[in-house]
């Protein structure tokens, strides 16, 4: 009769050697915080929209981060179907979660901005808002699908199929949203500021913000990926060590 699994072999290195502090993530968070400070305190207030325009330093880069994350999911889906490497599947999962979170933040910020500027919490006639919402639906569907399947091989396969089909879908949503009548309704107040004609301090804040958020995206995906690695290792240990 064998004794418990932990006495048979020591836990794998990946669980033990992991550093306690995730430096990359810390640096990323710090740089985002720094950009916040710069945006709020050290960048001039925009003339037409007032203080709420400062949301834009965060809103745009978050959207970019979301697109990067979703793009990673789509690409790793293709890689997984081709190579059957479970690391690709784990990366797809990590990116999808980060993407879902970022998209939610983008919509929340967009909604606040819309309320202040346009007086309405949601604007169907803003194509970008609609696009973000539908993209978010796709990512949520992806995560729910993953949650509904227990077998890792099946989960990887199905998610990859959805990931690729989702990627194919995006251009169609984009076209549809931009073509609907809705967006031709007269906008009550002036639309977003044009980027090229920004004064240099604002431009710099933007660029710093892009850099900081890209770093945050990568850091979060990496952190979530490592959680996935540990989870899978634990599951494997349970499976091989658990039975008699």
């Amino acid at each position: 009769m064998t004794s418990s699994s932990f006495s048979r072999s020591s836990p794998p290195a990946a669980l033990v050697d992991r550093p306690v502090i995730d430096w990359v993530l810390l640096v990323a968070i710090a740089s985002v915080a720094a950009v916040y400070v710069r945006a709020i305190a050290f960048t001039p207030i925009e003339a037409r929209q007032g203080a709420v325009q400062k949301l834009y330093y965060l809103h745009f880069p978050t959207a970019l981060g979301a697109y990067i994350a979703v793009g990673v999911t789509a690409l790793t889906s293709i890689v997984f179907l081709w190579l059957h490497d479970e690391r690709a599947d784990r990366l797809a999962e990590a990116s999808a979660e980060v993407g879902a979170m970022f998209l939610l933040v983008v919509m929340a910020m967009g909604s606040i901005w819309a309320h202040v500027i346009w007086g309405t919490w949601w604007a169907w006639w803003d194509p970008r808002l609609s696009l973000t919402l539908f993209l978010w639906f796709v990512v949520i569907a992806y995560l729910v699908l993953r949650g509904a399947i227990e077998d890792p091989a099946q989960r990887g396969r199905y998610s990859a199929v959805l990931g690729i089909l989702g990627a194919l879908l995006i251009p169609f949503i984009h076209l549809s949203v931009y073509f609907t009548d809705a967006h031709l309704h007269p906008m009550p107040i002036v639309a977003k500021p044009d980027k090229p004609s920004l004064p240099p301090e604002m431009l710099l804040t933007f660029l710093l913000s892009f850099a900081a958020f890209t770093l945050l995206t990568v850091a979060l995906i990496r952190a979530r990926y490592r959680i996935g690695v540990q989870r899978d290792l634990l599951a494997a240990m349970d499976e091989s060590g658990g039975g008699a």
Partner: protein, 239 residues
């Protein structure tokens, strides 16, 4: 088939199985629950892709060659029938899937062999479990396959049904088909088979021709193997 193994995640359900069957052979495959027998059957049927190794029928690779698949018939735990359709419609559909030249006639013939032709036009849901099993068997052999895979086919059959099945298996063997019969019941298996094999923890540990076996000794050996449950080498049986 050669070197077939099938892994689920980290679990090796079937491990390095080499098996070949000649025309007219009937191999009874015994083994405890979880030994991998059903998985092996599903791999041979083409439902699962082998992680390593290949399955060939008449020299043709099963997974890639549709003609090879056309030579196989599968009988498993589930009936694979459509309850809303009649027995005849179910069997005829199967015959057409395989491209039988005369599907209606083939279907009727199969139903007659399984002695259920009198209920041919009853919807399957109105049939008892035993009769459904007979229709399911008819469905599997309507196209007169060269290889028949059977997973616990006697389950649910009454004496008459069991007799019909045994007769049918003899007929198929006489026509040159090869049969692979997975079962718990050693007596049942030995009664119809020409060869016997035992599977344990995914590996094929023993294969004999039935003619050389003494039934009582085989029973005892089998029980010992199953109770020991260890690796083949530990039992002194060549791997």
């Amino acid at each position: 088939m050669s070197g077939v193994s099938r892994t689920f995640g980290r679990r090796r359900a079937v491990d390095g199985v080499d098996l070949s069957l000649d025309a007219g052979d009937c191999l009874a495959l015994f083994g405890p629950n979880g030994a991998g027998k059903t998985t092996l059957l599903r791999v041979i049927a083409g439902l699962l892709k082998p992680t390593t190794g290949s399955v060939r029928v008449g020299g043709r690779e099963l997974r890639s060659d549709a003609a090879a698949r056309g030579q196989v018939g599968l009988i498993s735990h589930q009936s694979m029938l459509y309850r809303a359709l009649t027995a005849r419609e179910n069997v005829e559909f199967a015959a057409r899937l395989y491209g039988s030249p005369e599907p209606r006639a083939a279907a009727l013939r199969a139903l007659e062999r399984m002695r259920v032709a009198d209920r041919a036009d009853t919807p399957v849901r109105a049939l008892s479990r035993g009769l459904q099993q007979r229709v399911s068997i008819a469905r599997a052999i309507a196209h007169e396959p060269r290889v028949v895979l059977l997973d616990e086919p006697y389950t649910g059959l009454d004496a008459a049904g069991g007799a019909a099945l045994t007769d049918m298996l003899q007929l198929l063997r006489a026509a040159g088909a090869s049969l692979l019969l997975v079962t718990h019941n050693v007596d049942e298996g030995l009664a119809v088979a020409s060869h016997a094999a035992i599977m344990l923890s995914g590996r094929l540990v023993r294969r004999d021709a039935c003619a050389t076996l003494d039934a009582r000794r085989y029973h005892a050996d089998y029980r010992a193997l199953v109770l020991a449950g260890g690796t083949p080498t530990a039992l002194g049986v060549p791997a």
